[in-house]
Symmetry: C2
Subunit: 397 residues, 2 copies
């Protein structure tokens, strides 16, 4: 038969960079293109020990159906963690477990937005979130990123011009892909604009714990007196992404409808996986684990920055992130970014992600590309930067 698919799903275009990403799984390629956390950071032994305990204490509970909102002890532990670590004071009934932060973002859009409503995002931004917004047939609008976060003037102009804007999507800490962190001044300004123009804000914080330099900046959620900021987090970068456990913290007025959406989505997040997360943050030394993670990421980030500096043409600009997984490089106008990325992988076997992938505008051009330092070995970082550096110098110097 000839399938006629929904308009909303047709909005999500197959990416032109599929070919480049396909090469990334070739073991002979140095893949700076991943978004994976460092595998050496997975606490394999602790997780195995936790599973052993669960299968002694409550195997049936770990295997039977459970409630949509999430494992109650984990909701409680997360409420406490949000209070202690982020100064976010919410009740455990306002915490819902999700399949990574991805599901939290996706379902919140479903709960808030009709087709044709506008979603405003930092531009560039996390493609997973952008595709979720597209797949609900919303109008996706990007606001330029400056060094200290979203351009506030441009944001207000857009809010003024777009009364159909319902949702704003932000990654204030070590943004994906730009690596930039939003200043405290901008966080306050964003919140004021959200109130003024009556819009819900998703504050996505997948990388918040991965700070390797500078001082922590409080979450926007900490100043949210109106309940319009929804805070999302994930165990993907602090424990294991394969477990697919994330969470959303939101005003209780949103909880019922979000729960309905989650029930339609997957009934509940796997209960064994939730129990693992719960035991890990409550019975193991979570602080020590995070400190260890930060050390691994600090070393890898510093190494990549060092070797970019040593090898790349000086005409290539790049961010110096205070945390997260990514460095964002920008080529001068005289070089075609897309063919740079294609040559890098096809001729030199180093994969990076072309910046166009992260653009709110499907037809945007970009001079930037994203490099990941967490999922590659130190040797690969050194060798890959040398190779890419040579290519930049060949094209630019």
């Amino acid at each position: 038969m000839q399938f006629k698919m929904s308009d909303k799903i047709m909005r999500v275009k197959p990416s032109a960079i599929g070919e480049i990403l396909k090469h990334s799984s070739d073991p002979s390629v140095i893949a700076f293109s991943a978004g994976n956390p460092a595998p050496e950071s997975f606490p394999v032994k602790a997780i195995k020990q936790i599973i052993d305990e669960i299968f002694v204490e409550n195997p049936i509970g770990a295997l039977q159906y459970s409630v949509t909102e999430g494992y109650a002890p984990l909701r409680q532990a997360l409420a406490q963690m949000c209070a202690e670590r982020y100064g976010i004071d919410m009740s455990e009934n306002e915490v819902i477990l999700t399949a990574g932060a991805q599901q939290a973002i996706d379902l919140l859009c479903k709960v808030i937005c009709n087709e044709g409503d506008a979603v405003i995002s930092e531009n560039p931004s996390f493609v997973g979130a952008l595709n979720s917004f597209r797949a609900y047939n919303t109008e996706l609008l990007g606001v330029e990123m400056e060094e200290d976060g979203i351009n506030i003037q441009e944001l207000e102009n857009l809010l003024k011009a777009k009364p159909n804007a319902k949702l704003m999507y932000l990654i204030p800490n070590f943004q994906n892909p730009s690596g930039k962190t939003m200043s405290w001044e901008k966080r306050k300004a964003v919140y004021e604009l959200a109130c003024k123009y009556d819009i819900v804000v998703i504050e996505d914080n997948p990388y918040g714990e991965l700070r390797v330099a500078g001082e922590a900046v409080p979450a926007i959620k900490t100043i949210d007196t109106e309940g319009r900021v929804v805070f999302t987090g994930s165990f993907s970068k602090i424990l294991s992404p394969g477990l697919r456990v994330g969470f959303i913290v939101m005003n209780k007025a949103l909880v019922d409808k979000f729960t309905v959406a989650k029930q339609c989505g997957d009934v509940h997040t796997p209960i064994l996986n939730q129990m693992i997360c719960h035991k890990f943050i409550t019975e193991h030394d979570f602080d020590a684990h995070i400190k260890n993670l930060q050390e691994v990421y600090r070393r890898k980030c510093t190494l990549m920055l060092e070797h970019i500096k040593k090898n790349f043409s000086e005409k290539v600009k790049y961010t110096v992130p205070e945390g997260g997984l990514f460095i964002w490089c920008t080529l001068p106008k005289e070089v075609d970014m897309m063919s740079f990325c294609s040559r890098a992988v096809a001729e030199y076997k180093v994969a990076v992600v072309p910046g166009t992938v992260f653009d709110c505008d499907d037809n945007a051009v970009s001079q930037s590309f994203r490099m990941n330092f967490s999922a590659v070995s130190d040797e690969a970082i050194i060798k890959g930067c040398e190779i890419l550096g040579k290519l930049t110098k060949e094209l630019l110097d």
Copy 2:
């Protein structure tokens, strides 16, 4: 702030029977209201042994990000299982892993239906699927169930009258909630109508392996020469629902867009959970496990039927299912079903699910209620049937 939620999510009404279901978790209540598989059927030891092996063989693989389509060896094993057990001949590239069959149904609706398109379902049917269709703002249309499945004449009338119908949702084996199985003649007739009126069919098969009587009827998918039947299955009733692993088998023309939808939904199904399912069906004696399951369910089903027969007023009609988890009882018109269910739980501490929950029409009235025999002990089955029987006799005889 005053939240304005999406029209689609407002379509899913909080159920009027929340109170009854709330009582179900009270340990002093006999809960015939659950949809849970029998906990004694979980192969706890085998699952633990499998996890031990995974943590020796490939712990990083079990914890790292994975691909959206699913764990390749499991896709292959499921393609083989569908061929061998169901006569469904599809390539492993046409199998996608999902968060239970719930996600498969939800995302397929997202891929196929625009808002306002019609979805046709057996009536009554599985509330999880119905709510998914509602939450995409489709027009939900129910077709009456007869003893041998959907009313074919009524189905054709509806298809004729509704050119906006895009999707049909069916549970041919031991339907939830009715317990009825669609005859082979009706399966062929449904497929012919689907072709004639150019509509996609979801053949949901969560209970297919739980046959306790009668002869297996081939799946509609086995006669699908046009690729319009999508087959969904789940590990929830044959291994563990808490793991949240299901799958969808569909024409390759649908695979790319379904994968995009899944990527937005949760990136991928937890990889550890998929590995557990893979090892269980390929390295353990799956046939013996299913035979054991069928024995447990046969005993429980027979016991409940026996004690319904012994205790209930003869004016109460009920289905004699050939498998699955449910018995569907219907009260004569002179009794108000809703107050029967309310009294049963409030005064007598036996919970059943009022039939209205499963109706495609939010405002329907029903004379029926659903009883589950899998999640309760033998003693509870005997005692609960006695209590309910007394109430039926008090009201009817």
